[in-house]
Assembly symmetry: C2
Homo-oligomer: 353 residues x 2
């Protein structure tokens, strides 16, 4: 391995070179490698999760939760972070917004020939750090190589397996429920755009990419006096941004949504960049945010718990679910007018996924 | 959707265009879409598997099995099959060789702009057919697009979740165990090479890609008189071929292996192509074969059951595990000499993964 500086086709060929890469660059950098009888160290055809004990410890759980995302972000390294942290965060967050504690992750990498081995290792280290942050093992994976003219950057797929006491859907919103956004919108998309296009927007604007399980887990157990979950729906506003997530939640729940522009957390650098470039910040992707719909009487309680967490310090109640305008999202602007917030139609602006 | 003939960047942008693609081209072509409370139809952040009932029905199971593979084969369509069938088969087979019945699959696609929509749909249909063959639902997925100059073909990741009464490892071989190969070697790699390079080797040589669960499930329950599993180890000889799989099994089990060249099932077209091109057929990838190590007294029984199945009609006992030559694989050639069969070192020949 040490003699190589870049990925070669052999690193995906299933022979000794691949085995050395997996042992020396992957296994050696991953701290937590097992969730049951067969783990990453066994390098078998897959791995196992000890589920009987998990189910026994989560007495309400009849279901495990599964989610998958492929990450194709370019460049693979961006201010403050990289594709490795993004891949683990994205999958942890899809589990978290379904109310599920992460049990295990898979890691499937497709990498072009010529990719720097140092960068590869740094990405694995970031995956490990991010997984450690929420205590989830990486138990199995796959590594494939593609000729340099067939692919221009690394692609990582992570699948997550989780367990929820009670699964939280994105369709459970009722009129009157309050909508909490856990932080500022647009940071990921706009910081990436600035980095890629070489704009110098500001020195402090970085991607918000973060694994939200430790924050979200603290509000999941909250119950109404009738003993029902206080959280009625949850979603991470990734591609399609806040506009996409809210529209999906309204459509699936059959309610309307009204949000207040004045209450929307947004960094000044993000809003001025959006204005300058003619981008709607509501449509920009986020990678460390959640939309949490909560019964009105618990909204302040949930908000204050979320705000205690580092990833939730800018959280705000941004609106509520309504009877009227069923399946539509409305925004009261800062000047008092109302406008519809639609599902984004066109291309991803900026192209960041 | 109907107005489009090819994939555009918007198909991966998280907005209405992507939603239409997922609904019209993916959901409409997948027959079995749920394994629990939240399925593909719900288009939530992920999906669930009802595991409590599964565990209750598989009383010996404490563990669920997880496996993941990304498929990057070029061209995406090859004689008799395509990347969709390959992706589902590969993941079903990794579960099967661990002794696990498939419970659910995920489907994460990365596709370049400009990819034909008809081809995309045909791939989804093949995934569905192959999944239907073994009765496994596809419950969640992801779709990302890349600019046409950033990727030259479609990439599919499938992760499988399965359950085993007893997990079968690739390290459990004991001296004296017989080694069964479920069919001819090299068909996948050589047929692909011929197709790609435009050789006309033969008219009947096609890839062996197939999902093996229905065949393998019939031999898993066989027990020794002491009540232990008759199968001691199992592996699918994919990248690295039979040579790679046998070496890994020998190394992990600490036994030697001796195989008989005369007993090795191989098509004449494959052996002559390999001879002509200077390729060792033992190192060529297979996508519809399994290596099954079985207690000697059950070898004939397992072999005859495997042979009854369409994917196992050419199965043969190819050798056995030995005390001597620990961690090495030896082959008695047809002329009676002995040679070591090593783990492949170099590049994948042909490059087919
Ligand atoms: N990027 C990765 N991260 C974590 N583990 C990995 C990674 N790549 C491979 N592995 C592990 O290395 C072992 C060998 O992987 P490999 O992909 O060769 O197995 P396979 O899927 O059975 O073979 P094939 O991919 O040829 O079908 C497996 O245990 C796998 O989990
Ligand atoms: N190729 C596919 N096969 C099956 N289902 C898919 C596929 N692509 C997307 N889906 C399903 O469509 C829904 C929306 O997918 P999407 O990827 O937008 O969700 P997400 O992961 O929450 O968002 P993001 O990918 O932006 O993080 C999910 O329920 C997902 O399972
Ligand atoms: Mg395998
Ligand atoms: Mg996601
Ligand atoms: Mg693999
Ligand atoms: Mg999501
Ligand atoms: Mg495999
Ligand atoms: Mg997704």
């Amino acid at each position: 391995m040490s003699k190589d500086k870049v990925i070669r086709m052999e690193h995906g060929a299933g022979g000794e070179t691949m085995q050395a890469l997996i042992r020396e660059v992957i296994l050696d950098n991953i701290t937590s490698r097992s969730a049951g009888l067969v783990g990453l160290d066994n390098l078998d055809d897959g791995a196992t999760i000890n589920i009987a004990s998990t189910i026994a410890n989560n007495k309400n759980s009849d279901e495990i939760v599964i989610t998958t995302d492929s990450h194709v972000i370019k460049p693979a390294f961006f201010p403050n972070s990289n594709i490795g942290r993004l891949a683990v965060s994205g999958t942890v967050n899809d589990l978290a917004v379904m109310g599920a504690a992460p049990l295990a992750l898979t890691c499937a990498i497709v990498v072009p020939e010529g990719f720097e081995l140092d960068s590869f290792e740094q990405i694995i280290r970031s995956m490990n750090e991010t997984a450690e942050e929420v205590g989830v093992p990486i138990i199995t994976g796959d590594t494939k190589t593609i000729e340099r003219n067939g692919l221009d950057s690394i692609i990582i797929n992570t699948t997550g397996i989780g367990i929820a006491d009670e699964v939280i859907r994105d369709c459970g919103m009722c009129p009157g429920d309050r909508i909490i956004l856990t932080g500022t919108i647009g940071d990921h998309g706009i910081s990436l755009l600035a980095h890629r296009e070489g704009f110098d927007l500001t020195t402090d604007l970085v991607s918000d990419v973060a694994p939200l399980w430790n924050m979200i887990r603290s509000v999941i157990p909250i119950r109404t006096i009738e003993g029902r979950p206080a959280i009625s729906a949850m979603k991470d506003p990734t591609r399609g941004g806040l506009a996409g997530a809210l529209n999906e939640m309204a459509q699936k729940s059959g309610t309307g949504i009204i949000i207040e522009q004045k209450d929307l957390p947004i960094k000044r650098s993000v809003s001025s960049a959006c204005e300058m470039l003619g981008i709607d910040p509501l449509e920009v992707a986020n990678e460390g945010k959640a939309v949490i719909c909560v019964k009105a009487e618990h909204a302040e309680e949930v908000l204050s718990i979320i705000r205690e967490h580092e990833y939730g310090k800018d959280a705000a109640i941004i609106g509520e679910a309504t009877d009227e305008n069923s399946r539509k999202v409305l925004m009261r602007t800062t000047i008092g007018s109302m406008r519809y917030v639609d599902t984004p139609t066109g291309d991803l602006i900026p192209r960041i996924c």
